[in-house]
């Protein structure tokens, strides 16, 4: 079983629609991170959330960390074709120096 369960695995929407990606775990994390990965490239960090209940906004992207620091969500408002990509959640568990990754969500935004 994966430490971080990410859902959905695939998401295809029309330009202008909203979408939400979820990242859930039974473990507590000191921080959770969201990455975006393009084909042939490595993951690029979008945001880090560290406080339970924290909400961070990055233009049309909203990231939330659960109160218990076991889950997170990524919400994209009015998605654009440029938002197409692989979104990964990852986190550092308490007293752990390595990142644990979810399997990723492939988002496709159709023009």
């Amino acid at each position: 079983t994966q430490l971080l369960e990410q859902s959905p695995q695939f998401l295809s929407i029309q330009e202008g629609e909203n979408l939400t990606v979820y990242c859930n775990s039974s473990s507590v994390f000191s921080s959770l991170q969201w990455y975006r990965q393009e084909p042939g490239e490595g993951p690029v960090l979008l945001v880090t959330v560290v406080t339970g209940g924290e909400v961070k906004k990055l233009k049309r992207l909203t990231f939330q960390f659960g109160d218990a620091r076991k889950d997170s969500s990524l919400h994209i408002t009015a998605a654009q074709p440029g938002d197409t990509g692989l979104y990964l959640c990852a986190g550092y568990r308490i007293n752990d120096y390595k990142l644990s990754f979810g399997a990723g969500t492939t988002v496709t935004v159709r023009a």
Partner: protein, 114 residues
């Protein structure tokens, strides 16, 4: 400033051969990580260096994998002998000293064992 660079970007080898992957971290980053993504699976941790010391190698699949980080600079990951199940994308990441610091990833090396 250069980011994390990995070489080669692609490698196709036959089962039983040896392959060495290289990672040059961002200058000054003490932490260096190797991760691997096998087709259809999540990115998984392989090992962690702090400077030249192996801090955690709990993710290394077996003794066919050997990682080194000479002088605390670049790192190599050697697979000998390679097996079919070693195919995947190998990522290197580096971060500054300390916990939970931002990890910067290289573009990855796609290894195909045939």
């Amino acid at each position: 400033e250069a980011g994390v660079t990995q070489f080669p970007s692609h490698s196709v080898i036959e089962k039983g051969q040896t392959v060495t992957l290289r990672c040059d971290p961002i200058s000054g980053h003490d932490n260096l990580y190797w991760y691997r993504r096998v087709m259809g699976k999540e990115i998984k941790f392989l090992l962690h260096f702090v400077k030249e010391s192996k801090q955690d190698e709990s993710g290394m699949p077996n003794n066919r994998f050997l990682a080194e980080r000479t002088g605390g600079t670049y790192s190599t990951l050697k697979v000998q002998p390679a097996e079919l199940e070693d195919s995947g994308v190998y990522f290197c990441a580096s971060s500054q000293q300390g916990k939970n610091t931002e990890a910067f990833f290289g573009q990855g090396t796609r290894l195909t064992v045939v």
